[in-house]
C-alpha cells in the first residue's frame, strides 16, 4: 500500500457521526486501512483512531522485516513508548505491506504495564500472555483483548508505507503510564 491509499477519509462518514467528531474536540480521525478483499466483500473496512499532531517517523523498511520483531520508540524517546514492528502470517487490521500483515504495537500491557517483550507470537497473531496476570491481545484485530484484564486494547502504532519505507504516523489508544500520548514525557 502506498501513501495515497491511506489518505484520511471523511471523518463524518461511516461509523463516526459528525456530533461524535466534534465531541472529540476537533481531533482528526484517520482510517486504518483494511485488506482490499474485505472491501470487495462489502464489509466494514475502516476503523478510526484519534490522531492529533503525531510525528511522522521512519521506523523500518519492508525489505528488512523478517520473523523477528524490530524494536523502535514512538512517539517519544521514552521507555513506555517502546514498540515492536512485526510481520504476521496473516492480514491484519491496520496492516501494511504486500499482504497487509505488517503491524506495530506498544510493548507494555495496558492492564498494569507488564512487559510483553518476547510474547509477540507472530505465527498466531497473539501477544501475551502478559507475565503479570496473563492478559492476551489479538494483533490482527487492533490489539483487542482476547482474554484478560486490560481496560484498553494494546496501543497500535498507525503505519504508512512509502515505497519500501515504513512510517509511524500515530498511536491508536493511550500508552500505559501516559495521560496524553501527545505530551512529551521527556520535556
Amino acid at each position: 500500500m502506498n501513501q495515497e491509499d491511506s489518505k484520511p477519509c471523511d471523518p463524518t462518514a461511516g461509523i463516526v457521526s459528525r456530533r461524535e467528531f466534534f465531541k472529540l474536540g476537533g481531533a482528526a480521525i484517520v482510517a486504518l486501512s483494511l485488506p482490499a478483499f474485505l472491501r470487495k466483500a462489502g464489509l466494514s473496512d475502516t476503523v478510526y483512531a484519534q490522531q492529533v499532531e503525531y510525528p511522522r517517523q521512519l521506523i523500518g523498511r519492508l525489505s528488512q522485516i523478517g520473523t523477528e520483531p524490530i524494536a523502535f520508540n514512538y512517539p517519544w524517546e521514552h521507555p513506555n513508548a517502546a514498540n515492536f514492528l512485526l510481520m504476521l502470517e496473516e492480514p491484519a487490521g491496520g496492516g501494511v505491506g504486500p499482504d497487509q500483515s505488517v503491524v506495530a504495537f506498544n510493548a507494555f500491557c495496558t492492564h498494569q504495564g507488564g512487559p510483553l517483550t518476547g510474547q509477540f507470537h507472530t505465527g498466531i497473531g497473539v501477544a501475551g500472555p502478559c507475565p503479570l496476570h496473563w492478559t492476551t491481545f489479538d494483533l490482527t484485530r487492533f490489539g483487542m483483548v482476547i482474554s484478560g484484564h486490560a481496560t484498553q486494547g494494546l496501543p497500535q502504532i498507525i503505519l504508512e508505507t512509502q515505497g519500501d519505507e515504513i512510517y509511524a504516523t500515530g498511536v491508536r489508544g493511550l500508552v500505559f503510564g501516559y495521560f496524553d500520548n501527545r505530551v512529551d514525557p521527556t520535556a
Binding site: 461509523i15 463516526v16 461524535e20 465531541k23 472529540l24 480521525i29 483494511l34 474485505l38 464489509l43 466494514s44 476503523v47 478510526y48 483512531a49 484519534q50 490522531q51 513506555n80 491484519a92 487490521g93 492492564h111 498494569q112 504495564g113 507488564g114 512487559p115 507470537h121 498466531i124 497473531g125 497473539v126 501475551g128 500472555p129 496476570h133 496473563w134 492476551t136 489479538d138 490482527t140 484485530r141 487492533f142 483487542m144 483483548v145 482476547i146 482474554s147 484478560g148 484484564h149 486490560a150 481496560t151 484498553q152 486494547g153 496501543p155 491508536r172 489508544g173 493511550l174 500508552v175 500505559f176 503510564g177 501516559y178 495521560f179 496524553d180 500520548n181 501527545r182 505530551v183 514525557p185
Partner: protein
C-alpha cells in the same frame, strides 16, 4: 444502544482538590477496593505528584498508578457536570493488592449514567403500561395502584398469591427492606431469588455437611499446597482471587468441561485438568474418595477428631420435628452417616469404581488416580489441600455433587484450618440481609413424610397461582430454566389477558388490574435500572426506576465476608430511588408499620440487629458507632476499601474481624460487649460442631441423567453454559460499555472442530441451537410417593417444551467433543431456554449446566471477516 468504540489517546487527570470516595466493585464476589475521584468539568490536574489527586507522577511505571481512558466518564454531581475517574485502590493491602483489577471492575466508570453514552436508556421515572406503551407517572400513583391491587389480592386470594422475585445481593439496605416486607409484613411463601426457583439451599450437600459456604479467606487459597477447583475457572469469573492470591501459590486441579485460560495456567504450572462430562462430578468425587479409602490415604487424625459419629448425628444432636431439610437429610441414615458407615457404603457402591467413573465422567482413570495422589500426598507427606467450588459443580446434580465434594474434602483433612478449607469461590457478592425467615410452613410443597420444602415459584406462577408479582432487579424468565416456556406462561397471564389498561386514570388502572386478577391473570411490577427484556419491555404493568451503585450509600460483603461502604458519588438519574425506598413507601401505603426510613443509614442500622449471631454480623460496628456518636455508615466509611471481615467481634476495646469460619486455630476468650460467639466460629456448623459425611448414591440422579443425555444419533449436543472474563452477569452494563461491546458484540458458542466440520460451521458463523425436547416439571404440590425423576414421570408431572438460541460460533478444541459451551445469560441469546426445568428433587435448585440442543449454521456474522469487532483467537495461549 450500540455505539462504536473509539480508543482515546488521552485522559483527564483529577486535580489535587478532587473529591475522593471509597467504594468496592459492583460486580463479582471478589469485591475489589476502588477509589472514585470527582471534579467539576472545566478543571484538570497535572502530571506532577502535587498537581493531581492521585499523588502520582505521570508517566507511571509498571504496577504504578495509571488511568486508562475507559476509567473516566462525565456524571452529574449535585446537578453539575463532573469528571469521574474510578480506579482500583493502589494503596490496598487487602483483596486487590497493588491496584490489581479485572476488566470488569476496571471499566466501572463506564457504567455510570451519562446520557451521552449508551447508558442513556436508564429508567428515569415510574411508568404504567397504557395501551401497550409504558407511560410516565409519578411515584405516588404507581405505589397507590400497587397497594390497591395488593390489598385485593391478599384479601381475596391470600398471601401466597402475592409473589416476589428479587436479587439476593444488591446491598443489605435493599434486601433487608425486601425481606421485611415479604417475610415479616406480608408473610408470603411465594418468593425466590434471582438464580433459583425456590428459597432452598444453593449447596445443600456442603451445608448439611456442616460447612458454611463462604468460610474461607482469600489468604487460605494462597496458603494451600494444592487446590481442587470444581466447576469454575476463577481466572474468568473471580479474577483477582486468581491473579492476586492463587497464581504463584498452590498447584491446581481444575474440573471443567472446557479448557480455559486458568486451566492453561494450571497445566503450565504443574497442575491437572480433569475435563469432565457435565453432570458427572458426583462419580468423579466418589471415585477419588474410593481410591483414598482403598489406599488408606485418608487423614485419620482429622477424621477421628472432627467427623461426627452416628451417636453425634442421631442421639440428641439432629433430632427435632424433622420437618426442616437439614434435619431430615442428615438423620435417618438416608444420607448422613459416620466415617465407617461412609467407607462401607462407598466401597460397595458399584457406580463409584474407578473403571465406571472413568467411563461416565470421561476423565481418564490415570488422571483420577493422579488427583487422589495430589490431594493426599499418597501416603507421603500430606499437603495442605483446599477445595473451592462453584456452579459447574452445584448447578447439575446439586445435592449429590456438593455432598460428595465435602466428603472428599474431609477425607483430606480440609475444612477447619488455615490453607485447608472447603468453600465456595463465589459468584456475586454477599448482599443478603434477611429481616425474617422464609415462611416454610406456608409452602405448599412437601416431600414424603414431614418434609416441607420451599416452593418452586416458577411452577407456582405457571400454574396460575400468583396474582401479583414484583420482580426486583432480575430478568426472571431469562434467568430460569426452560426460559421460553416460562415466558409463554407469563405472556398468557399478562399481555394475553383481556384486561389491559386503556386509560392512565388511576381508578381505571386499579379496576382493570383487579379485573385481570379476578379473571385468573397476573399483575407484574418490575423494579430495575434498565428496560430488561421481556419482563420490563413486555410483561410489566408497572415499572419502578431504581438507583444503583454509586448513586446511594450502601453496604455488603465480599467472598471473604469483608464489609465495606459503597459510597454515593453522583446523582441518581431522574426520579430513580433505591429499592429500599420504593419498598418503604409501598409498605406505608399498605398500612404496615416500621418503614419510616429516611436515609440509607436508617435501614443499615435497623438491619444490624438482624445480622447478629450470623455470618455477616456487623452489630458490633453499629453499636460502636453509637458509642462514638456516629452513624453506622460513617464509621464504616472510615474503614475505606479495607473494611472489616464479618462476623465483627469486640475484643479488648476494639472491633476485630474474623478471617475464617470453622477456624480450629482461633482462640476465643469470653464474648465482650455485644459479641456473639457462635459455635461455627471454631467448629463445623452442625449440632455437634463436627463434620458430617453424607452418602450420595448415583441412583438418585441416574434416571434423570439418562433421560437428558444428548443422543448423538439425533444430532444432539450437551449445551452447558458459563461466564466469560470480559462480561459480568447478564451483560446489563457491558452491552452499554462500547469498549466491552467491541470485544463481545454478540453472544457466542464454542464447538469442537470435529463436531463443527461435518456441519460446515466455522468461527464467525451464525448458528442456531434448538431443542423440542426440553423437560418441564408441572403439576401437584404434595408428593406422597417418592421424589425421583421416575416417580415424577409416573405421576404425569413431566411435559416437554422447546427452546432456541442464536449465537456466533467459535470453533475451538478447548471444549469437549459433543459439547456446546455458551454464555449463561446473554440478553440476545436465551441459552436457558435449552435447559430442563426439573429442579434437583432434594434442594429445588436448577440444573442449568445440563441443557441440550441440535445446532446448524444459519449464516455468517460480520465479525467472521471484518477486523473491527470480536476476536476468534484462542483464549488459552500460555506463551
Amino acid at each position: 444502544m450500540s455505539e462504536k468504540y473509539i480508543p482515546q489517546d488521552n485522559v483527564p487527570l483529577p486535580p489535587a482538590n478532587a473529591k475522593v470516595h471509597t467504594t468496592a466493585c459492583d460486580y463479582c464476589i471478589v469485591g475489589c477496593g476502588y477509589k472514585v475521584y470527582t471534579w467539576p468539568v472545566g478543571e484538570s490536574g497535572g502530571p506532577s505528584e502535587n498537581q493531581n489527586a492521585l499523588g502520582s507522577a505521570f508517566p507511571g511505571n509498571m504496577l504504578g498508578t495509571w488511568i486508562s481512558p475507559n476509567q473516566h466518564n462525565v456524571v452529574s454531581v449535585d446537578g453539575q457536570p463532573h469528571h469521574v475517574v474510578v480506579l482500583p485502590d493502589f494503596q490496598s493491602q487487602v483483596v486487590n493488592k497493588v491496584g490489581n483489577h479485572s476488566i470488569r471492575g476496571g471499566t466501572l466508570a463506564l457504567k455510570c449514567y451519562n446520557p451521552d453514552t449508551p447508558t442513556r436508556d436508564r429508567l428515569l421515572h415510574p411508568q404504567i403500561r397504557v395501551n401497550g406503551r409504558l407511560e410516565q407517572v409519578d411515584w405516588d400513583t404507581a405505589l397507590e395502584v400497587m397497594a390497591a391491587v395488593s390489598k385485593h389480592v391478599l384479601e381475596k386470594y391470600g398471601e401466597a398469591a402475592w409473589a416476589m422475585k428479587t436479587y439476593s445481593y444488591e446491598f443489605f439496605e435493599n434486601t433487608y427492606a425486601i425481606t421485611k416486607l415479604a417475610f415479616s409484613s406480608i408473610v408470603t411463601p411465594a418468593f425466590a431469588v434471582h438464580d433459583k426457583p425456590s428459597m432452598g439451599s444453593d449447596t445443600g450437600g456442603v451445608s448439611d455437611a456442616g460447612v458454611i459456604t463462604f468460610s474461607a479467606s482469600y489468604q487460605d487459597w494462597a496458603d494451600a499446597d494444592v487446590l481442587f477447583i470444581s466447576g469454575t475457572d476463577p481466572f474468568e469469573t473471580k479474577t483477582i482471587v486468581f491473579t492476586s492470591w492463587i497464581m504463584g501459590g498452590p498447584k491446581l486441579i481444575m474440573v471443567l468441561p472446557r479448557r480455559t485460560a486458568g486451566v492453561a495456567y494450571a497445566e503450565k504450572n504443574g497442575g491437572l485438568f480433569l475435563q469432565v462430562i457435565p453432570g458427572t462430578d458426583n462419580l468423579l468425587h466418589l471415585a477419588i474418595s474410593r481410591i483414598i479409602l482403598e489406599n488408606g490415604w485418608e487423614d485419620r487424625e482429622f477424621i477421628d477428631k472432627w467427623v461426627a459419629s452416628n451417636w453425634e448425628i442421631e442421639m440428641g444432636m439432629g433430632r427435632g420435628t424433622r420437618n426442616t431439610p437439614w434435619q431430615w437429610r442428615t438423620t435417618w441414615g438416608q444420607f448422613g452417616t459416620d466415617f465407617e458407615g461412609y467407607k462401607e457404603w462407598l466401597l460397595s457402591h458399584e457406580p463409584a469404581t474407578l473403571e465406571n467413573a472413568a467411563r461416565v465422567t470421561g476423565v481418564p482413570a490415570e488422571k483420577i488416580m493422579q488427583a487422589a495422589e495430589m490431594i493426599t500426598g499418597a501416603g507421603g507427606e500430606r499437603p495442605k489441600a483446599s477445595f473451592g467450588f462453584e456452579k459447574g459443580n452445584y448447578w447439575s446434580n446439586n445435592y449429590s455433587n456438593t455432598a460428595s465434594y465435602a466428603a472428599m474434602g474431609f477425607l483430606c483433612g480440609a475444612g477447619n484450618r488455615p490453607g485447608r478449607v472447603i468453600s465456595r469461590l463465589g459468584g456475586h457478592q454477599r448482599g443478603w440481609m434477611g429481616a425474617a425467615s422464609y415462611p416454610r410452613d406456608k409452602s405448599p410443597e412437601k416431600l414424603p413424610g414431614r418434609r416441607k420444602v420451599e416452593m418452586d415459584l416458577d411452577r407456582w406462577v405457571a400454574n396460575g397461582n400468583a396474582r401479583f408479582v414484583w420482580a426486583i432487579g432480575t430478568t426472571w424468565t431469562a434467568a430460569m430454566a426452560a426460559s421460553q416456556e416460562l415466558e409463554r406462561s407469563f405472556r398468557a397471564l399478562t399481555v394475553e389477558n383481556p384486561h389491559q389498561i386503556r386509560s392512565i386514570d388511576k381508578d381505571s388502572v386499579i379496576q382493570t388490574l383487579i379485573d385481570r386478577v379476578d379473571s385468573g391473570g397476573m399483575v407484574v411490577v418490575n423494579s430495575d435500572i434498565y428496560p430488561v427484556e421481556p419482563i420490563n419491555t413486555e410483561f410489566a404493568d408497572i415499572v419502578l426506576p431504581a438507583a444503583a451503585w454509586g448513586e446511594h450509600d450502601a453496604t455488603r460483603c465480599n467472598g471473604e465476608r469483608r464489609l465495606r461502604l459503597y459510597s454515593k458519588f453522583y446523582d441518581a438519574p431522574g426520579e430513580a430511588r433505591p429499592d429500599w425506598w420504593a419498598i418503604s413507601r409501598f409498605a406505608q401505603k399498605m398500612g404496615f408499620e416500621g418503614y419510616d426510613w429516611e436515609e440509607d443509614n436508617d435501614v443499615f442500622e435497623e438491619a444490624a440487629r438482624f445480622s447478629r449471631g450470623g455470618v455477616l454480623d456487623y452489630f458490633v460496628l453499629v453499636w460502636h458507632a453509637k458509642q462514638l456518636g456516629m452513624k453506622g455508615h460513617e464509621l464504616l466509611r472510615t474503614l475505606g476499601t479495607q473494611g472489616i471481615q464479618t462476623p465483627i467481634r469486640w475484643v479488648d476495646g476494639e472491633m476485630v474481624g474474623t478471617q475464617r469460619l470453622h477456624d480450629s486455630t482461633l482462640e476465643l476468650g469470653s464474648p465482650e460487649g455485644p459479641t456473639v460467639h457462635s459455635k461455627w466460629l471454631t467448629h463445623f456448623k452442625s449440632h455437634s460442631g463436627k463434620a458430617l459425611m453424607l452418602k450420595s448414591p448415583w441412583e438418585l440422579f441416574s434416571d434423570f441423567y439418562e433421560r437428558v443425555t444428548p443422543d448423538p444419533a439425533k444430532g444432539e449436543f450437551w449445551v452447558t453454559t458459563g461466564r466469560i472474563n470480559e462480561i459480568w452477569q447478564s451483560a446489563f452494563d457491558d452491552i452499554r460499555k462500547p469498549y466491552i461491546l467491541n470485544r463481545w458484540p454478540e453472544t457466542w458458542v464454542e464447538i469442537h472442530p470435529q463436531d463443527a466440520a461435518p456441519l460446515g460451521i466455522e468461527s464467525g458463523d451464525m448458528v442456531r441451537m434448538w431443542s423440542d425436547d426440553i423437560l418441564v416439571q408441572t403439576g401437584g404440590r404434595v408428593r406422597v410417593k417418592g421424589y425421583s425423576f421416575t416417580d415424577l414421570v409416573a405421576a404425569g408431572s413431566i411435559q416437554t417444551g422447546r427452546g432456541e438460541a442464536i449465537a456466533v460460533a467459535i470453533v475451538s478444541d478447548d471444549v469437549r467433543p459433543g459439547l456446546l459451551f455458551t454464555n449463561f445469560l446473554h440478553p440476545s441469546s436465551p441459552a436457558n431456554s435449552l435447559v430442563h426445568r426439573v429442579p434437583d428433587p432434594v434442594s429445588n435448585v436448577h440444573r442449568y449446566k445440563l441443557g441440550k440442543a441440535q445446532i446448524e449454521k444459519i449464516g455468517e456474522s460480520p465479525f467472521k471477516t471484518a477486523f473491527e469487532e470480536m476476536t476468534f483467537k484462542p483464549r488459552t495461549v500460555s506463551g
